[in-house]
């Protein structure tokens, strides 16, 4: 199963991180290849983005279902392809280090199904961890910018 986990440490209180991460609209444009998203309900949204696989780009549409909000430390979600045959999930986790510092982890797993699944999963093996890393770092960068933290 192609997956990736990436952790960063921020000199920002956990509550501030939660305030940012808990509103999808804040970080949606930071998803690599983001095109658009639509929030259907508190727990459900659809997303469209263009994945850059290096040798080609593929536009995909997917649905995200929030499974759990544990304020202020974790949000977990499931995802499924609306345009293509894949499923997966992920989470954002925030862990308090001190009152002013937080460890933030992003995790993503995506598995392609169908006849071409084995082939596509080989391609996703690099793509998914890279995306998890890019997204986590982009969110960290944005939070630092908002909080006026210089790295």
């Amino acid at each position: 199963m192609p997956n990736g986990t990436h952790t960063v440490e921020l000199q920002v209180p956990i509550e501030n991180i939660w305030n940012f991460v808990s509103d999808m609209n804040n970080w949606a444009p930071l998803v690599p290849g983001y095109i658009e998203h639509e929030i259907l309900s508190e727990k459900q949204s659809t997303w469209k983005f263009k994945g850059d696989l290096g040798f080609m780009k593929k536009t995909v549409k997917l649905q995200i279902d929030i499974l759990e909000w544990i304020e202020p430390s974790k949000v977990t979600f499931d995802l499924k392809g609306l345009s293509d045959n894949f499923t997966g999930g992920g989470y954002f986790e925030a862990e308090k280090i001190t009152d002013a510092a937080t460890r933030m982890t992003g995790h993503l797993d995506i598995t392609a199904g169908g006849m071409m699944g084995a082939m596509i999963n080989t391609i996703l093996k690099n793509f998914v961890p890279e995306t998890a890393q890019q997204l986590t770092e982009a969110i960290a960068g944005k939070i630092n910018e908002i909080e006026g933290v210089t790295v």
Partner: protein, 555 residues
Amino acid sequence: MPANRPATWDHEVDVVVLGTGGAAFVSAVLAADQGAEVLMLEKTHQVGGTTAFSGGVPWIPMNRYMKEAGIEDDRESAITFIKRLTQGKEPDPKFIDLFVDNGHVMIDYLHENTPVRFATPKGYSEYYGHLPEALKNGTRSLDPEPFDLNQVGEWGPLVRQNPVFPPLTLAEGGAVGGIDFMKIAERMENNIVTMGRSLIGALLKGALERGIDIQLNTPGKELVLDDEGKVIGVVAEKDGEKIFIGARKGVVLASGGFEWNQELIKTFLKGHVTHPMSPPGNEGDGLIMAMEAGAALGNMTEAWYYPTMQDPTFEYEDHVMNQTGGGRFGPNSIIVNKHGKRFAHEGTTYNDLPRSFFEYDPVALEYPNEAPNWMIFDQQLKDSQMIITMMPGEEAPEWVDRADSLRELAEKIGVNPDGLEASVARWNEHVENGVDPDFHRGTTHFENILGGGGNAEANLGKIEKGPFYAIPVHLGALGTNGGPRINEKGEVISLRGNVIDGLYAAGNAAMGILGPVYTSAGGTIGPAMTMGYIVGKEVGAKEAREIKEAEALAL
């Protein structure tokens, strides 16, 4: 105009080859083997050009791999077959002999002197297998053997990749059905490549072993001529700076066709190719340089046509990728024009079908079949075949037009509804009778090449089970097939019929030596590599011009 001579050359070599496709690499390797110092200039960020993007299959009569497989072939049969197809429209018949006599020698040479290896694809046959003149017991097409791209080290990721070709050989079904996705995954894990990447990978290894210098992101821009009109060098561009490269023996134009240059397309081709299928760097650079040097041109109205389709969610180098599509041979599909009418046998070869797009109606004063035309099919075909990127059994993506009735579908796509309904009714009648008197579906070999040739059972089926689907069919090209006129040594000929000393051309950058003909799988690469072989031997063995300091400073 060609560049003035530079005050000094930035580099001096014996031979400069523009391009890194099949013709380019073969000419570079052969030139190096004659003792020449060779420099290859590649416009893009990757090696391999159109060849790497292709099946990598050369079509070569009397080749060694056929002999090993027990397939009989002879010179006269090959020439007769090619002439049956060219119908006298080749630029010069002596090139047919030249190709037949040298193609298998080129294959022998590569086998004996480079890592290039082929196999005769089992179960494969000739596109025109239904013709009496065609080879009946196998194929002249050669299938590159899988190649371990790790062998070229850091160059591996720089070998161009066609994203829709999985790493399977032709025999394994890499291009036509029968796909083993587990094998694909295993090869991807291990960096084992096939088809065009395999051929280019092996040629690249051969070139690197010979110390051939390959410069990426370095397009050749202008030829440098002396006062007698002899080509003595090239002006290239690197990082925005001009670099002057002196050539002691010659310059080889092997930089691909002009299918990505709309101005040249409109100027020369009968049909307006809007959807090229090659890498976007093919903009006619070699052709323009040759014209500037006063070259005569040949076969300029021809291209390697393809009826292309698109999955708009799939992009290659910032363009929606033009793909081979599929489905048009299938029993439950037809292709119609904007009037809703069929106009050709839908399952003929990809180089033949698009020629029906150019028809002109002198009464209606229009081109009724001008692309996009539409492939119309029903749920039965959708359930049984892979079409573009749609797999059987999976729901059709939102970009595919569909409707519960043919009339509704026609209205949705802007096709005459009465015409479409009538065409489908007539097609279904033909299917009922087991024969297509209008366009003879089910009678050509190509439309069921893996099943022994076209027949009513395989290629005729009613369009009757909704929902009904429509996909636009565009006029595409694998490449263009015209360029500077060459002689039997691959030297470029001037408008006045003289040799332009020091200038050579091969592959899609040159005049297509077999004219409009695409003999079978590899009908492009076979002649291209053969001319690359001839050019490389000629230019490599040429006496080196002495570049004197005074000459180089003679502005």
